[in-house]
């Protein structure tokens, strides 16, 4: 509609901008981001590369980061909030509903329970929580055995609907990119997972 463009100059530039923000992103990449969110995952800056056994930059994170306002608007139109946490270097998609239903918080709570159990266990063993987030440190086989042997932890996990206990809980976190499995019987937290524990410490210090 070239005539239209000529007569309504300002609007056309607006339209063009709107169009370019979509044009800058490959549909395949955007769809990949969408699939991650659909699976209830958190998109973190660095993900564990199993083949090379090292953390590598997550292209999806960079995509979101570079086109933040585009994706914000995009997901707003889909009825969700795109939440960006800079300190923890992660994104997640939040249902933007006003209702404070129990179900609404269920996922968040289950994630928090598992992370807290891990954090508490780790702090009690006299180690700095920072080590939980390092691929070369983290939880080892012995730690997992100790965690699994604690009756109280098992009770709490079961009451948080992890009927199969620790392994299910760890899978739950891993599926959501809050935890990575760096080898047989070895896990470490992603930046998002560590962020939660640090946040607890900070909150405690300020209270």
């Amino acid at each position: 509609m070239p005539d239209f463009v000529e007569t309504r100059d300002t609007e056309s530039t607006l339209n063009e901008q709107g169009a370019t923000s979509f044009e800058q992103i490959l549909p395949a990449h955007s769809a990949a981001v969408y699939r991650e969110f659909q699976a209830g995952r958190v998109i973190v800056r660095d993900v564990w590369d199993n083949n090379r056994s090292e953390l590598r930059a997550n292209p999806l994170y960079n995509l979101l980061y570079n086109h933040l306002s585009h994706f914000r608007t995009f997901y707003e139109h889909l009825g969700s909030d795109l939440v960006f946490n800079e300190t923890g270097a992660f994104f997640f998609l939040k249902e933007s509903s006003d209702e404070e239903s129990e179900e609404h918080d269920e996922n968040a709570f289950r994630v928090q329970v598992v992370l807290l159990l891990i954090g508490r266990y780790f702090a009690r063993s006299g180690r700095d929580l920072d080590y939980l987030g390092r691929p070369e440190a983290g939880l080892n086989e012995q730690d997992l055995a100790n965690l699994g042997a604690d009756e109280e932890y098992q009770d709490i996990l079961r009451a948080a609907r992890f009927e199969r206990g620790l392994s299910e809980a760890l899978d739950y976190l891993e599926k959501r990119n809050l935890l990575f499995r760096s080898g047989a019987g070895r896990y470490f937290l992603s930046s998002a997972g560590i962020y939660f524990l640090n946040q607890l410490v900070q909150e405690y210090e300020q209270s």
């Binding site: 659909q38 909030d81 329970v113 807290l116 508490r120 929580l129 962020y195």
Partner: protein, 475 residues
Amino acid sequence: MSKRFSTLDTTRLLFEHPKILFRMIERMDRNEARFIRESDLVAEVMDYTRGLGKADRERVRLALNTDNLFRSGLIIDIIKADGERRLVFQDALINLMRACNASLYQELTDARLRGHLVTLRDVRNRLETSSFSDADPDYTELRDDLNERVSQLIGLLRQNVLRMQTISAQLADLSGDASRAPEKYLEFRQNLFEQIVTLYERHIKPTLVFLNPDTRLPDGSNLFETLEAMVRLLEGHDDHSLADQLFRSSISLNALYKPIQAVAQEVEHFLRKTRRGMAQYNAMEHFYGKLRTLKDDTETLSLRRKWLEGGDFARSTGFLVGLRAQQRPKHYAFGQSSSYYQLLFSELELRLSDLRRQSEVPVLQEVAGSGRESRVDVQRINQLYQWLETLELRPTADLVRELHGRLDGFIPGYRFADLLAALNRLVNSPPEGMQVTTTNRFRTLEQAPDCEQFVYRKRRLETNTTDSEQEPDHA
């Protein structure tokens, strides 16, 4: 008690058995007093000499007798107060003793450092009005005073650095122990923490500030400015030897800054680590405690409380609240093939025929609860069966979903239980010319108000003739 020792011999004996005075000085410092109680000294001497041979015991007891110490000039004063005798030892002796044991160094506090600075400033002020003549006894006295003050200060600071260095090593040892013995970790850490904080806040930081040439003080010049001013004054009056000496002293003082800074950094790092670790530990315990109370709630007698109710907990931390798997939008299977339209029209026709019979739609009684009478059940089912008798169905790949679609929202009071009954009926007596095939695929249906779910095996409704023309997949 006629036997007496000379001052030299007494001193020699004191240094041969230094533990006695070490302990007395420790006690003195603890009480922040400038004297030693005679009773304490006697008790300490008796206690210490018990382990000695007869001759030695006799000798030490004699030497450390108050009378002997006083006469030899090592005790300079005896004060009687509060019904006890207080002994004031000579400063030189005490300081020498301190020099022999690093742990007895008195830390330089802010107040003491300031005291030194004020005296130096005072000397400078006097120097300004001084005659600078070697013949003037006031001036020579001032020079001596200045020399003494500066060397005293250097000595003090040097001692202090030594002391700080030994204590940080000591602390490292302690913390090493702590990490090796986890059960005592907390106790260790608590002690450690207190010690380090005191050391750092009260001694190291003030010393650093005192020795920093860039420090600005609200009440006047800092140490180096004071010294520099004096150097300039002396140079101006041609007393170069003293000026040089003072200049060298200021360089020595400046050089002390580095080691203290190193100690400060080490301690600060240590402090932060410990403090951080402690905060982490306590924070984890704090929030775990909250979780535990939630868990205790599930352990009440109520059988229904099986799960943790973490809504409040989750919201209070706010982490990932609202995170959930998003459902993919459902596809609508629009098609353009003739079979698609055929199916669409046949479905519309069936629905229309339903609507035409709307007057006959049975109203199923609401299911009140578990206590309802069986008579009602029978009545409901019969009503439903009558409706089904006359219900027209088309061949479909998913009979259950089809039935549900035809009943839900159309027959008032319809529940999943009714669907089950209806299915039962259709499986046992299918409509004429049709047959029901039960597959091993499972599907789930949901009903809106209470989100009830019905998991069922997919059933196909087929015409008895095998050459079915219809494409059932779009149902």
